[in-house]
């Protein structure tokens, strides 16, 4: 990963200056979606790049060691070898960026990776995921336990109560403590934008999270009614740019929840390229939180290589 974001002091004056015009953001999002996406070999290349940015995720009540193992294996070989070979991409070491599981499954995932002799990062959600409505003490303990089990990336959720009531100082302090608890593990901060009421709050929460030392800011848990939408992403990447211009620290962005099609992943890449530049097109600074997206991308790549549409059983399942 790239240099980490050390964070800064909380600058409440900066936070209070934030202005977001909702309709202008929506219009911008329409423009981004309205652009033509890349085609042919450009599409194939971009889709493979999208694969390398995926945090392949399973966050279900019925997760067991066996499906977590299958997920890890899929993460290591996300696209059929013969397809990669026909594009001369088989030596590029294409894997997803990480796998992402609940804290209690971290140990299983780490074990599977070890068996496969891979150093692919295992990410864990934490801090009372998805609602964050547990005591700070247990949330902190959760982070420490996940790190102890071998997770090298922690996706924390923020305390929406603090954000909605404008207690930015308290929010900052909490995230600071999570960051300490993470130690060397990279911290992705989930804003749960669907529950923040306004774009202005999303922008402010983004700034506070970055000041508190988040390495990534992430849209949603995937459990809210509204997930990763383009307008909300535009607000968050603008906050990332703002923070970068003010402090020189680069913070990553992770949209998550509801991203299912290859087409969408292309729009996400185009959005990042336009708003933040090529540097934010790599897993160091960009992740896609998804579970079913990979299957669709693989089918599109199959179509690019063979000119035919694959039946689901022709591609290995996760």
């Amino acid at each position: 990963m790239s240099a980490r974001n050390p964070g800064t002091e909380l600058d409440l004056e900066w936070v209070s200056r934030v202005r977001v015009n909702t309709q202008a953001v929506l219009k911008r999002a329409q423009q981004v979606q309205g652009r033509k996406v890349v085609k042919k070999q450009w599409q194939a290349a971009w889709l493979l790049r999208a694969v390398t940015c995926i945090d392949l995720t399973t966050l279900a009540g019925d997760d067991t060691p066996s499906n977590v193992h299958r997920l890890c294996m899929k993460a290591l070989q996300p696209v059929r070898h013969d397809l990669l070979k026909s594009m001369d991409m088989h030596e590029k070491g294409i894997t997803t960026a990480a796998v992402c599981v609940y804290p209690s499954r971290v140990a299983d995932a780490v074990k599977s990776m070890k068996v496969a002799n891979s150093s692919l990062p295992v990410a864990s959600v934490a801090t009372g995921f998805p609602a964050g409505q547990t005591h700070l003490k247990t949330r902190l303990e959760e982070v420490r336990l996940a790190v102890a089990d071998g997770a090298t990336e922690i996706d924390i959720v923020i305390n929406r109560t603090l954000a909605l009531t404008g207690q930015w100082q308290a929010l900052y302090d909490e995230i600071r403590q999570f960051r300490e608890a993470c130690g060397d593990a990279h911290m992705k901060t989930i804003l749960a934008v669907g529950e923040l009421a306004s774009f202005t709050n999303v922008y402010k929460a983004s700034l506070v999270s970055m000041m508190a030392g988040s390495d990534f800011i992430k849209t949603s848990t995937g459990k809210e009614s509204v997930n990763a939408t383009y307008p909300v992403a535009i607000v968050m990447v603008r906050a990332i740019r703002d923070y970068y211009l003010q402090t020189g620290h680069k913070v990553g962005f992770k949209p998550a929840g509801g991203i299912r099609t290859a087409q969408e992943s292309l729009v996400w890449l185009a959005l990042m390229k336009q708003e933040l530049g090529d540097e934010w097109l790599r897993p160091q600074l960009f992740r896609l939180g998804a579970s079913s997206l990979l299957a669709d991308i693989e089918r599109q790549i199959y179509h690019y290589v063979t000119g035919r549409y694959a039946a689901y059983h022709e591609l290995p399942m996760a």
Partner: protein, 790 residues
């Protein structure tokens, strides 16, 4: 790009470049091929392609010839104009419902062929989305349906010539043609070679929709001078033009003297300031302006004004956002030299360049460029060059931002960015622009008008307001054409040698009263110090009046611009002032009736009637002051939008000979009721009632300078009006030479010209609502305001 097709997935994976975006234009090609690559004229319902005509090439954006367009000759023009006269009969005879039906079918046809329409538009001109065009047609189909219900007492003008220059957009062209058709006119569409393909396509779509033959004819020529021939064929009732300023002015001069009203929209090349206040969503503002400014076909020349307190942040963001941008194709190779020169000049005058990469040494590609800290005097700001150039200036406070933005003759629209409601509405009020976008830019809809101010044109397109240029009050007679006469523009209105009045003249027997005129709220003699004799119809000397000239006009304008802004601000104060004027007139009605009788020789009864009618006319205007303010428009997008009627500023009026008091009061009332200041030139022949009216004005409660009354020689005063640029509108009743002079000397002014041969004075006494409506519509400009919300 030749090797781009062989790029490997591997390499793209590393570089993450975007692939080529443009694909072919199969539908447009197929359409052009169906005309075997050479487009003809469209006359009387079908495409005609006479073989022995010269052709001109239509070039696509890369400068390659796509097809050839025929250049019409005199024979074609006369065929076309006579077909249009027939077309007008057939089209106007249909019921509103039938006309609306045809237009609705046209909308369906555009939808059906949307791919072809979009590709043909795309091939040549600023792209217009088929969806926007469909909306435009549907909107006007609605007006076609409602014409007789909503706009009673108005009739179509007849045959309307719509002239488009090669740099006009298809949308602007349709915004002229569709309302003209919807109101029941027939249209002759005159275009250069570049606009010939979209024009012809429109005609074919109309034919498919069942428009009667001749209702829309298309002529193309090597340039817009063809329009002169069309006007000279004497079948045209109205000419309207959209395109660049030079061609528009030339066209105006060329057609002066035919007494065909001309309306110009010279929006291509006009300037649009974007004002970003510190209270703005700066990211959104910058994103929008970059989107609009850094593309090949720009609707406007954008100029960015940023409040100083947020300037550094704005520049830093621009740098980051622009870093990855690619060079943008220019419209043609020739533009490159202009762009280079503009950028170099700005650089010499202290501007800092922000570019993603330095420009290639030559060629029709130029990187997006921000000229930061450019001098306001710089050519890049005053009349911006084509190409992806964005001048940027800073301002201290909100007042200064607006002043800077207003300081250009070419402003058509403006965009204001702030989250502060009060500030935004104040800015909207003070901006001199036909369209103001709040926290948005470049949105358009046919229901909101696009008005030209200053040097951006003299007409209003779109919306309900835009319909009136294609209508005349049913009560006023249709126009007759005249042949232009030989007018020496240089000597027109030159002061005549001193024959006017010398001391010790012949009529010393009866001591005639010596009148003063009214300039800037005070009675005074003429600056020239000379007087003129006022004679009755029978030739008897009645009085002496000042022989006013340019200096008197100048003084009147100086006084007018001081008082007009506060006069415009309060409609309710205007109501009171005009009622007091009416009351004052009523008190002096005997004197006024006497003066009318003495001057014109009518019976006392008739004179008293004229005075009485004048009193009630003034009361009508007083009542109207706070009524005509525009309204809220409904739009397909969410948010609010308004069109408001605003005063023009200073209006110059040269009054007719007939009904000297009533015509004065009617026009004065229209001008000042809408918030303008008026400079009235009474009839040279019959000035007495106006001179008497000065006492009425002085006795009433009207701020000094709102109305000036200047007497003197008509031609000389007409010239004085034409030579003062502050006067934005001139209403003229007089000789056709005078009309010709005004049209050729002030093409971009709002001219309302009436050759006296055409007037019978009935206009003033008829009670028709449409005649009054025509007057107040002449006295206002329309401002559209967009407030989009989520």
């Amino acid at each position: 790009m030749a090797d781009s097709r062989t790029r490997k997935v591997r390499d793209i994976f590393d570089s993450m470049e975007s692939g080529p975006t443009s694909s072919g234009r199969p539908a447009a090609q197929a359409w052009l091929q169906s005309h075997s690559g050479s487009l003809g004229l469209f006359i009387d319902g079908s495409s005609v392609c006479p073989s022995d005509r010269q052709t001109a090439s239509a070039l696509d954006s890369s400068g390659e010839s796509v097809c050839s367009a025929l250049c019409a000759v005199d024979e074609d023009v006369s065929a076309c104009v006579s077909s249009s006269a027939g077309g007008f009969k057939a089209w106007a005879a249909l019921s509103c419902h039938r006309r609306a039906q045809v237009l609705r079918r046209l909308a369906a046809a555009v939808q059906k062929h949307s791919q072809c329409v979009s590709e043909v538009c795309d091939l040549f001109q600023p792209p217009s989305s088929p969806a926007a065009l469909v909306r435009l047609v549907q909107y006007h189909a609605g007006w076609a349906q409602l014409r007789d219900l909503s706009i009673p007492d108005w009739s179509p003008r007849g045959v309307v010539a719509v002239v488009v220059s090669d740099d006009a957009s298809v949308y602007c062209m349709w915004l002229k043609v569709l309302p003209a058709l919807a109101m029941g006119n027939s249209v002759v569409l005159v275009s250069g070679p570049q606009m010939a393909p979209p024009s012809l396509l429109l005609a074919e779509l109309c034919a498919e929709a069942g428009l009667p033959a001749g209702a829309l004819n298309v002529l193309s020529g090597s340039d817009v001078s063809l329009a002169g021939k069309v006007v000279a064929s004497t079948g045209i009732s109205f000419l309207t033009y959209c395109g660049n300023k030079q061609d528009g002015e030339a066209l105006c001069r060329q057609t002066a003297g035919w007494c065909v009203p001309v309306a110009l929209s010279t929006s291509p090349g006009s300037v649009c300031p974007v004002i970003i206040f510190e209270s703005a969503d700066i990211d959104s503002a910058l994103d929008s302006v970059m989107e609009a400014a850094f593309k090949k076909n720009r609707e406007y020349q954008w100029v960015l004004y940023v409040q100083e307190s947020v300037l550094d942040g704005a520049i830093a963001r621009l740098k980051v956002r622009m870093a990855g941008m690619k060079a943008v194709p220019l419209l043609c190779e020739a533009d490159r030299a202009l762009v280079d020169e503009a950028v170099q000049e700005a650089h010499r005058q202290g501007a800092t360049l922000i570019q993603p990469c330095p420009p290639a040494p030559s060629g029709a590609l130029y990187p997006p460029t921000v000229l930061s800290g450019v001098a306001p005097s710089c050519q890049a700001v005053v009349s911006p060059a084509p190409g992806p150039i964005l001048p940027l200036m800073s301002f201290r406070g909100s007042g200064e931002g607006i002043t800077l933005a207003n300081h250009s003759p070419f402003v058509q629209a403006a965009s204001v960015w702030t989250e502060d409601l009060t500030l935004s509405l104040e800015s909207v009020k003070s901006l001199c622009a036909g369209t103001v976008w709040l926290n948005s830019l470049a949105v358009m809809d046919p229901s909101l008008s696009l008005s030209g101010l200053k040097e951006v044109g003299n007409c209003t397109d779109g919306g309900r307001e835009g319909l009136y240029q294609f209508l005349r009050p049913s009560a006023s007679p249709p126009l007759r054409c005249f042949r232009p006469s030989q007018v020496d523009y240089a000597t027109f209105g030159a002061p005549s040698p001193m024959v006017a009045f010398v001391p010790g003249g012949s009529d010393s027997s009866s001591p005639a009263r010596v009148y003063q005129h009214l300039v800037g709220g005070r009675q005074s003699k003429a600056e020239s110090g000379c007087s003129k004799a006022v004679r009755s119809a029978g030739g008897a000397l009645l009085a002496h009046c000042p022989d006013g000239g340019p200096k008197d006009v100048r003084n009147a304008v100086e006084a007018a611009i001081k008082v007009q802004p506060s006069w415009a601000r309060s409609p309710s104060a205007r109501v009171q002032s005009l009622y007091s004027l009416a009351g004052s007139l009523e008190k002096k009605s005997r004197e006024l009736a006497a003066s009318v009788q003495t001057q014109t020789g009518v019976s006392l009864e008739e004179a008293e009637q004229e005075v009485e009618l004048s009193v009630s006319r003034l009361c009508e205007w007083a009542a109207r002051c706070d009524k005509e303010r525009g309204g809220v428009q409904s739009l397909p997008q969410s948010g609010s939008s308004y069109s408001t009627a605003e005063p023009i500023g200073v209006v110059g009026v040269v009054l007719p000979d007939s009904k000297p008091l009533l015509s004065l009061v009617s026009l004065l009332g229209a001008a000042v009721a809408m918030g303008n200041a008026a400079i009235m030139m009474p009839s040279e022949k019959n000035p007495l009632p106006a001179l008497e009216f000065i006492q009425v004005l002085l006795a009433a409660d009207l701020p000094g300078g709102v109305v000036s009354i200047i007497t003197g020689a008509r031609d000389q005063l007409t010239k004085a009006l034409a030579n003062h640029s502050v006067i934005q509108a001139i209403w003229y009743w007089g000789s056709k030479e005078g009309c010709q002079f005004l049209q050729s000397s002030s093409p971009l002014r709002r001219l309302w010209l009436h050759p006296e041969e055409q007037e019978n004075g009935e206009r003033w006494t008829r009670p028709d609502a449409s005649l009054l409506e025509e007057m107040w519509r002449q006295a206002v400009v329309w401002k559209s305001l967009w407030i989009p919300t989520a």
